[in-house]
Symmetry: C2
Subunit: 494 residues, 2 copies
């Protein structure tokens, strides 16, 4: 989607030089900082400078995602690649000067994609591009064959009578709608999560899904499915868009389509995943935490560059900019790289997922987690800020939007509808959440496909994200606003 970036991964920061120059070149602030580092500049001015520093050539974010994806490639939950990437990330956090850096492990059952293939075997012979859905069981070694029964929607599948799919392969052909904020995904994904169960309930021997995606390439979009009695009940596969088209056209020509499916997917029962935690310790109220999340694991077909390499890169670069500011914020900024996000169903035998594990092991601290947000919608620009209900109308929001408006971020008139999978369990436990919504118009072209690789990242868009996060998180962490109730002192006007 973007020109290939031939540059190799570069060593991490030349940031400090950049940032120091920027700080020192701002006359009023520079003078004040030089005279008395403890006498903070106006928070809004610092936020604006962090924003501008992010845009002016910070090298943390792109270097992070470049080196991470180059050195560790795909990082499926419970894999060696995921673990080694976590160890590398912890070491990098140390190098970058973060505090409280550590890894927290938790058990998972890992799902391992095997060999997989699919063919139309009648009325013609043609290979199909498929991806087994996450955690779906293997077929018999010889594969399975059946007639395809096509449904225009998940609702149509649910309307099929009991037993009507005996010995057949159910297929849901619905197309995902392209939207900016991602609503098309929410509307489409239910067929992926619940389709295998509904198909099996009606006797189907397997489930096929037109990929939940907006592209038209021969690349299938994988993703997790809902367990029924602790397992995915039938082999389940996503078809690439053009392959789904082909089956639809044959059906429209009056042909009965038979396909052969094979998967040798397997499970590793005693695997583990891990969260990587790193803090920028607050100068006044270090026990109060602004929690920033992204996930370290990825699906196995691509290298998780935009899902969620960029999310990590954005929050790490933002936190590093804040860490290197002349003065620490009042509160602690905590970065958590969550494990096992893509397999987010805490049921036996799959174990926990990262967001669940964090909320459990940090339960006692959540009351002093003042705000949480996660970055997990790709690499495109932020266009909207969602804040907790309590602060939607107050000075905090006005200040934040003054800083973010110049980089194209609007204020949303309502709080986030959902916090995201990583910080979700903490938010359910009472932590207020914010969101910096990214433009997701193109995200679902590559989401959960082999095409999720470094070349898809536009560095300018990435840096705009860092700018928005650095500014917003600084304002939250340097304030004493209570995002639950909006008590506390808002930042002073500029």
């Amino acid at each position: 989607m973007h020109p290939t970036r031939p540059a190799p991964a570069t060593p991490l920061p030349r940031l400090c030089a950049t940032l120091c120059v920027l700080f020192l070149s701002a006359p009023a602030l520079g003078a004040r900082t030089a005279a008395a580092p403890a006498a903070a500049a106006a928070p809004e001015a610092v936020a604006a400078q962090l924003r501008d520093a992010a845009l002016a050539g910070q090298t943390i974010a792109y270097a992070w995602v470049s080196e991470l994806t180059s050195r560790f490639g795909p990082r499926p939950a419970g894999s060696v690649n995921e673990r080694q990437a976590a160890e590398w990330a912890a070491a990098r956090f140390h190098d970058l000067g973060f505090e409280n850096v550590h890894i927290e492990t938790f058990p998972v059952t890992a799902w391992v994609r095997g060999a997989e293939s699919a063919q139309i075997i009648s009325p013609l012979t043609q290979p199909l591009v498929v991806a087994a859905l996450g955690e779906s069981p293997p077929t018999a070694a010889a594969g399975l064959e059946g007639e395809v029964v096509m449904f225009a929607s998940f609702e149509a599948l649910k309307a099929a009578p009991a037993g009507s799919l005996s010995g057949k392969i159910a297929m849901v052909a619905r197309r995902m709608v392209r939207t900016q904020e991602g609503a098309g995904y929410a509307a489409a994904v239910v067929a992926r999560t619940d389709g295998p169960g509904e198909a099996a309930r009606r006797g189907a021997i397997a489930f096929l899904l037109r990929s939940v995606g907006t592209d038209s390439h021969r690349l299938a979009h994988t993703g997790t499915t809902r367990y029924v009695d602790g397992r995915v009940p039938v082999p389940a596969f996503a078809l690439s868009g053009p392959d789904a088209d082909q089956i639809e056209r044959l059906a429209a020509l009056g042909e009965t389509v038979r396909v052969r499916l094979h998967s040798s997917a397997s499970y590793v029962q005693d695997a583990h995943s891990q969260n990587v935690i790193a803090d920028v310790r607050g100068r006044e109220r270090p026990q109060e935490v602004v929690l920033l999340g992204a996930h370290l694991d990825s699906w196995d077909q691509g290298t998780g560059a935009v899902d969620d390499g960029t999310g990590m890169a954005i929050i790490i670069a933002a936190a590093k900019l804040i860490r290197d500011a002349p003065q620490r914020p009042r509160r602690t900024v905590r970065v958590v790289l969550f494990g096992s996000e893509e397999v987010a169903q805490p049921v036996a035998p799959y174990g926990a997922f990262g967001g669940h594990a964090y909320a459990g092991s940090h339960k006692a601290e959540l009351a002093s987690h003042v705000l949480a947000g996660e970055s997990d919608s790709g690499a495109d620009r932020v266009y909207r800020l969602e804040l907790p209900q309590a602060v939607l109308q107050g000075e905090f929001a006005k200040t934040a939007l003054r800083v973010l408006d110049p980089i194209g971020v609007l204020g949303a008139p309502r709080p986030p509808e959902e916090a995201g999978t990583d910080v979700g369990p903490s938010v359910e436990a009472g932590v207020p959440s914010f969101a910096l919504n990214q433009d997701a118009s193109s995200y679902f072209d590559i989401h959960h496909t082999a095409d999720d690789t470094l070349d898809k990242i536009d560095q300018e868009q990435l840096d705009q994200n860092v700018a928005a996060w650095a500014a917003l998180v600084w304002l939250a962490a340097d304030s004493d606003v209570d995002f639950r109730t909006h008590a506390g002192t808002p930042p002073p006007p500029p």
Copy 2:
């Protein structure tokens, strides 16, 4: 690349109605045609009307490529799909009213892609997206492993000393340049055709190539390679662009990259391919032939929609428009759907290819083949007309360009540099050639990949091609211009 077209393949023509209305609605011509069908309208006026009929809703072209690719999918040379598609095409030609419809077979050794896979095995584990190059031999059943030695260009590989690649896997990393007329392909493809031989000569156990393509997707571009002593000497694979990027980045990080490669490709020695021939018989000089070529076979990963389903669709629709005009042209218009174009090396044991077979079996007629052209550059618009040297400056060219200019076709100042693989052997035997150059800027994003499927076709662009071909071919076939010498009478001015 284009929105998915949900419509199923439609039955073939509603063309006659459309064309008749158009002809009758042109007052002068309509009157003349009605009064005396044998008294032809001015050829330029007819050419303009054919052009406009093509743009106004002919349904031949898209229906052809839709039904062909839906019913027969991939059509590799020597396959059942290719043969069945040829039989279907011949039946369709009969239905459309073509004459002299027949199939001419010739022997080939078919190459059959098997299971294939590749992984980086050190310094990390990562699956790679590859495609075995056409006719390349299988690996041992267990695959092969080796260290990758990277070359920035084919010239750099050729500069490597004898024996320097013993036990290694040679890789050429050069990127193809995107160009409108396809020159980037010519500059890049030598590494594919000659790379395996040069690598083997220096001791390499396998050959890897950054795909000859301009996209950045996890899809590898296959293609044929040059035989050395009648065979491809080592297993040879194309890597997708992002996979080549990854190996380059690891090398730039100082890592030694080892990969495992596997292919179970095989050969079928007693296969055959075939050309499908169909004529629109000329009314005055039927022995004089304007030859239109495209190829029926395709690579096996996609369904050959734009390579070369659209080429067939364009020439067939153009010929059908000419056939259904109120008066036949003076000369015969011959459509040949060539077999085995993608495997175009007539050496043992691979046998002939379609263009070679046609030129051989029609040798005696080639002296009365007055002009030849082929359509094999995708589905984008025609932007330039290349004519034989003899007629570059004359009235024929002026007339043709008056008709083609309104649909965005420029005149080239020189004749075609090459005629194309299908009609090439006939052209080498003396038949003059023309070309209607298509914009190939995006063609090499999908060329020879699994992404070559129906959804990539823009019907408006396709119809512009039909318009250009119908108009130009009509002018050539209704004239008595000698394209070898430019003797004969040019079309009269309008």
